[in-house]
């Protein structure tokens, strides 16, 4: 097979399937009660230097409480899979926990604007990057989940994204077409927030799955936070709903509103006001440090963060928004937190989505903030 090593980027993680098999051979299959606390889960399973992958979609169904705890415990030199990393990137990179990143999407918060703190980290050289695409990272998880060292794909050929990645161009042995082989990605630790889990770690997710089915299987260690712990009987009542089986899971933590200020489908909408506050305080590095101290480092736990952000009252509003209880107009008339409602002044216009459609349209060329045009 012809091989052309187009990517000059560093491959941060070993795609060796047999070493991975050996690891998984010894991973416990015991159907034990894995319920623990956020603090204990991070203390035990996340270490300085580990390579972390985060489930959900940046600002939707994210394990915020677990991310905060990583910051609170001051983890350093983490690797990060930047797969649609928006608020999650903002937390971990902004707080200085990350020194290397497989980038598909970072720094931006879609239509909301660009994270100044994350930008400072990437622009100063303090985070080493290798470039990928969202599909490539999703397929890298999938390859790992399948137990194969790579998957062939047809995306990104001929681009600088590929040249600064670590994929390899190959020729199809059947048809002769050129393909890009993307290597399996086995993260040290994955953090995934789900709707329901039992004490053993059998999980249900409502709505889109993003890349979490494959990520859960690719990760060596998996910490799950859930909106609700449910009896095992609820899992068994409808096994077709189980998207992550207990034997992939190392720790289960119950964290109601655990995706806040992100959206949790069928539970609560994102808190666009609070996300805007993040973007604002990041403009000044010192103010941002004070903000991190106040909201994360000096808080006891995630519940205290929720209280600082308006507590149950605010969460009720976000539930009403999610369910459009007051129609699309919202109680205040138009305050639905839709695209642009949360955009910083000057407009995060065109911040159409992780990359897709417009990814960095938000990013007006030479550095104007948040894509003001």
């Amino acid at each position: 097979m012809e091989v052309n090593r187009v990517g000059q980027g560093r491959l941060f993680m070993d795609p060796d399937v047999d070493r991975a098999r050996d690891f998984f051979r010894h991973k416990s299959r015991r159907m034990a009660n894995k319920v623990t606390t956020v603090r204990e889960a991070i203390t035990r399973f996340v270490h300085d230097g580990d390579y972390i992958a985060v489930g959900g979609f940046g600002g939707s169904r994210i394990p915020t409480a677990l991310l905060h705890e990583i910051v609170r415990q001051g983890r350093k030199n983490l690797g990060l899979s930047g797969h649609t990393a928006t608020h999650d990137c903002q937390i971990l990179v902004g707080a200085g926990c990350v020194n290397r990143c497989d980038v598909a999407y970072v720094v931006g918060l879609e239509a909301r604007g660009l994270s100044r703190a994350s930008r400072r980290a990437f622009e100063s050289g303090s985070v080493e990057v290798t470039e990928w695409t969202n599909a490539q990272l999703a397929w890298r998880y999938k390859a790992a989940a399948m137990g194969v060292p790579f998957l062939p794909s047809r995306s990104a050929l001929g681009t600088d994204t590929a040249r600064h990645g670590a994929a390899v161009e190959i020729t199809c042995p059947f048809t002769g077409v050129k393909l890009l082989a993307v290597p399996a990605l086995y993260p040290d630790v994955a953090l995934i927030h789900v709707h329901r889990a039992d004490v053993y770690g059998n999980c249900q997710i409502d709505g889109i799955l993003v890349a979490d089915v494959d990520l859960a299987r690719a990760a060596r260690t998996l910490i799950v936070s859930c909106e609700r712990l449910v009896p095992n009987e609820e899992i068994r009542r409808d096994p077709g709903r189980t998207v992550i089986p207990y034997f992939c899971v190392d720790a289960v933590v119950e964290v109601p509103y655990g995706s806040y200020p992100g959206n949790m489908p069928y539970e609560y909408f994102s808190d666009e006001d609070h996300l805007r506050l993040w973007l604002e305080v990041e403009e000044d590095p010192e103010e941002f440090e004070r903000f991190l101290d106040r909201y994360i480092r000096n808080t006891r736990d995630f519940n205290q963060y929720l209280e600082l952000c308006g507590g149950i009252g605010r969460l009720q509003e976000l539930r009403a928004l999610e369910f459009l209880i007051h129609g699309v107009r919202g109680p205040g008339g138009g305050a639905q937190g839709g695209a642009g409602a949360g955009a910083p002044a000057g407009g995060a216009e065109g911040g159409e989505g992780p990359g897709a459609p417009g990814g960095a349209a938000a990013a007006e060329g030479a550095g104007a903030k948040g894509g003001a045009r």
Binding site: T133, W139, G158, T159, V210, G340, A356
Partner: protein, 260 residues
């Protein structure tokens, strides 16, 4: 005919882009103007246009503009809520007709930069988000559309970084690189004109100028030499009905159209 309709440049771009989306086609969109264009198309010429979002939402009955391509609106009353891999595989399989992209820089072949400004990726002058799904969609969807304001900084001769492939270096280059044959940039809808791509060179070719826009204005706003269609038309402005639907039903809070 009644007096001339008033509209802003965002409304104009959305209305023009929407007309290219035909009925029963599939489109992967992001938030913002592309989403508005797809929603408007559903209310005008393409009621059965299938909208998908890269995070896994398929066929939602969008109640409002999504704020993220992964938020719960993107599969609100949808047909299917799946994974990102499934959406991208649908593109790779050849079942996605249209996608919309934007970027900080675009060149004459429709290549797009959304990764960085500068020369050193490890220490860029400005770090931008990166590909996200853009490179995948530009590689794998049949037709790539762009909605973007036109100015010299954005329409540039040389990109700092090719994040997402247009026609790369010209005719045959996509195929030579290994990208699926027959795919590539289709139309660029700007605030000044509608641009297509020349069959022989794969370079940008102006097809129509918006009312009141001159050739000179377009050249001034472009950092490379444009080709011109033999007969450059005047873009057909939004109709009263398109504007009504856009303002009353698609974007009643002016999240997108208010940004013009």
């Amino acid at each position: 005919m009644a007096g001339e309709l008033q509209y802003n440049r965002m409304e104009l771009m959305i209305c023009l882009a929407a007309r290219y989306l035909e009925d029963n086609a599939t489109v992967v969109v992001g938030t913002g103007a592309p989403c508005a264009a797809a929603m408007l198309a559903q209310k005008t010429g393409a009621p059965n246009l299938m909208i998908m979002f890269e995070a896994g939402g398929v066929g939602p009955l969008l109640p409002t503009m999504p704020v993220s391509v992964g938020d719960s609106r993107t599969f609100y009353r949808g047909l299917m809520a799946v994974s990102m891999a499934e959406i991208m595989e649908c593109c790779q399989r050849g079942m996605v007709d249209y996608t919309f992209l934007g970027g900080a820089q675009i060149d004459m072949y429709g290549n797009i930069n959304s990764t960085m400004i500068g020369t050193d990726l490890q220490r860029p002058k400005v770090r931008l988000p990166g590909s996200g799904g853009a490179c995948d969609l530009a590689s794998l969807a049949w037709r790539t559309m762009m909605i973007t304001p036109q100015d010299r900084r954005r329409f540039t001769a040389k990109l700092d970084f090719i994040t997402s492939p247009g026609y790369l270096t010209g005719k045959g280059a996509r195929e030579a690189a290994g990208l699926p044959p027959g795919s590539g940039p289709y139309k660029v809808v700007t605030d000044l004109c509608v641009i297509g791509f020349d069959d022989d060179t794969r370079r940008m070719k102006v097809e129509s100028m918006h009312p009141g826009v001159t050739r000179e204005m377009i050249e001034q706003a472009t950092g490379f030499e444009l080709l011109w269609a033999e007969e450059v038309k005047v873009s057909r402005p939004p109709t009263a009905e398109e504007l009504r639907l856009l303002r009353e039903e698609v974007d009643p809070f002016r999240y997108i159209i208010g940004r013009a």
